[in-house]
Symmetry: C2
Subunit: 295 residues, 2 copies
C-alpha cells in the first residue's frame, strides 16, 4: 500500500534543523507538508525557503494531516502548548524527534489518553532521528540530513503497529537507518554516547581555564591548544540550553553514565599516581581497541 | 649572518613523523641533512624517500654537524644511547622535539656537563614543535608539517643565547610560530591541553563500553554513537605507548590537571544530581564561551 506520508498531508510542528530538513526532503518527494511554527517571521521565511506547502502560526493548519511530526525542543515536547494538542487531527499518527524517549513517551500517552484516545493501541510513536549539525533555527534545515543516519523508534506493547509502520516508511523514505529498541535502553545509550560527552568536554574546558591560572599561564594554555583539544571539547562547548535540556530530561541515565565515567577515570588516575606504567599502557590499549567499534 | 642550518650540516636523530618532516623541508631548502636512525631498513627507506642527504645507523654520520635535532620519542630522549651522546660533535647546538620539557632539559644539561661541556652557557636548547598527525614511522614525514604551528622553546638562564637563536632560525625557516616560555609552565600547559584530553577521552571509551553492558545494550551504544562521540574520543583512542610515555614524563603536572578536571566535572555532576538546571545551563554557557579562545 502507498505509505501514509504519500496518501495524506504530513504535519510538521517546528521548522528548526530537524523540522526544516524534514520539510525540504518531503517537499522534494512530492508530499503535502503543513507546518506549524511559533512566530510569524519564521512562517514567512519558511515559506520563502520552501520548507512546507503551507506554513502558519495557527494550529488549524494541521487539520487533515494523517501523520504529524513534532519537531520541537525537549522542553516543549514535555510541556506542549494545549492548543497544539487540541489541534492534532483525531486518528492521525503522531511522532516526535526528541533525543530522550522514555519521558516523552509517557507524557504523550497520557496527553492523548486525556484528549479522548482512551486505551491502547496508541497512535503516538516515540522516535529519534539521530542527525545533527551545529546549526539551529529556520535557516538550519538542509536536504538529505537523515540519509544514512540512525532513526530510532521506541515502541511499547501498546503501540499501534500501523502507526509504527507509517513512521518507519517515512524514516526509510528519507534514507535513514531504522532501528527499534526499548525507550529506557535508548535513553541509557544516548546518555553514554551523547549526553555524557557534553559534560566531559565542558569540564575539560573549565579545567584548562582554571589550571592555566591568570595572565601568562592562561595565554600559554590558549596558544598551545591544538586540534586534539578542539576535537575533545567540540560537543562540550556546544549549545548550553540544549545540553541542559538533555541532562534534565535524561537525568537518571546521565547520572548512571557519570558513575561509570568517574570509575574509569579514577582507575586511569590511580595508575598515573601509582606509577603503574605498564598497566596504564594496557588500559590505553583497551581504549584504542574499543574506539573503532563506535565509529 | 647566514643561519647556522644553512652554514653547516644539520643532524637529525630519528626519522619518524617529526624527524622525517624536518628532513623533507630542510632538503627542500637546500640544507645538508645527516640523519641517524636505529635500523638499516629505516635507513634504506629514508634514503629512497629523500629525507636526508646522508642516512646511517652509525652515529659517526653526525660528525661535522653544527646543529643536531634529537627527533626521538620521550623514553629515548630521557634515556639516550651513550653512543649517541658520545657522537655529538663538540660545540654543536643540540635541540630536541619532546612534548615534555623540564625532565628532558634537566637530563641533557647533566649529560652534556658530564660529557665535558662543563658549566653554562649550555648549547642544549629544549624545544617542542607542536605538530602532529596520527601517523608514525619512516613513511609519516610530510612537507610543511610545521607551517603555522607553535614551536615552543624553554630556555633557562644558562642557555647559550647563540644556540637559542640558531634553533629559532631553524623553526622560523620551517614556517613555525616561535614561542619561548619556562619549561615548567610549558609542561603544565601541555598537561592541560594535550595530556589530560588523552585520559578524558580514554575514560569515555571505557565508560561507554562498561555502561552499555553486554549483547543488545553494547550493540545499541555502538550503533548510536555519532560524530560527537568520535570527536570527543579521538585523542583518547590514540597511540597507547605515546599516551603512557607522556603521562610518565609529565606525571606531576598531569596529576595537577586531573585535580582541576575532577573538580570541574564534580561541580557539573552535582548540578545534575541536585536538579540545579539554571546553574547547569550557566556552567555550560561558560564552557561555550571559553572554547573559541582555545581554537
Amino acid at each position: 500500500m502507498t505509505p501514509l506520508w504519500q496518501r495524506e498531508p504530513v504535519g510538521v510542528v517546528g521548522l528548526g534543523l530537524i523540522g526544516g530538513s524534514l520539510g525540504l526532503d518531503l517537499m522534494a518527494m512530492g508530499a503535502q507538508v503543513r507546518a506549524l511554527v511559533h512566530r510569524q517571521a519564521t512562517a514567512e521565511r519558511a515559506a520563502q525557503r520552501g520548507l512546507a506547502t503551507e506554513v502558519s502560526t495557527d494550529p488549524v493548519v494541521l487539520a487533515g494531516c494523517g501523520l504529524v511530526v513534532l519537531a520541537l525542543p525537549l522542553d516543549r515536547l514535555l510541556d506542549p502548548d494545549p492548543a497544539l494538542v487540541a489541534a492534532l487531527p483525531a486518528g492521525a499518527v503522531i511522532t516526535d524527534v526528541g533525543s530522550v524517549k522514555a519521558p516523552v513517551l509517557r507524557r504523550w500517552w497520557e496527553l492523548l489518553a486525556a484528549a479522548g484516545d482512551g486505551p491502547a493501541p496508541c497512535r503516538f510513536v516515540a522516535s529519534h532521528p539521530m542527525a545533527g549539525t551545529a546549526r539551529a533555527g529556520v535557516e538550519a534545515g538542509e536536504p538529505g540530513l537523515f540519509r544514512g543516519r540512525p532513526w530510532v523508534a521506541t515502541p511499547e506493547a501498546g503501540t499501534d503497529p500501523a502507526a509504527l509502520e507509517a513512521v518507519r516508511e517515512l524514516a526509510e523514505a528519507l534514507g535513514a537507518r531504522w532501528l527499534c529498541c526499548d525507550a529506557e535502553a535508548h535513553d541509557r545509550a544516548v546518555a553514554l554516547i551523547s549526553h555524557l560527552p557534553v559534560l566531559v568536554g565542558a569540564a575539560l574546558l573549565q579545567a584548562a581555564n582554571a589550571g592555566g591560572g591568570a595572565e601568562a599561564g592562561a595565554a600559554l594554555v590558549r596558544a598551545l591548544a591544538s586540534s586534539g583539544f578542539a576535537d575533545t571539547t567540540r560537543v562540550g562547548g556546544g549549545n548550553p540550553e540544549l545540553g541542559m535540556l538533555m541532562a534534565r530530561a535524561n537525568r537518571a541515565a546521565l547520572l548512571e553514565a557519570l558513575g561509570h565515567y568517574r570509575h574509569s577515570l579514577a582507575c586511569l588516575e590511580a595508575m598515573v599516581a601509582g606509577e603503574q606504567w605498564s598497566d596504564l599502557q594496557q588500559s590505553l590499549e583497551l581504549s584504542h581497541q574499543l574506539r573503532p567499534d563506535f565509529l
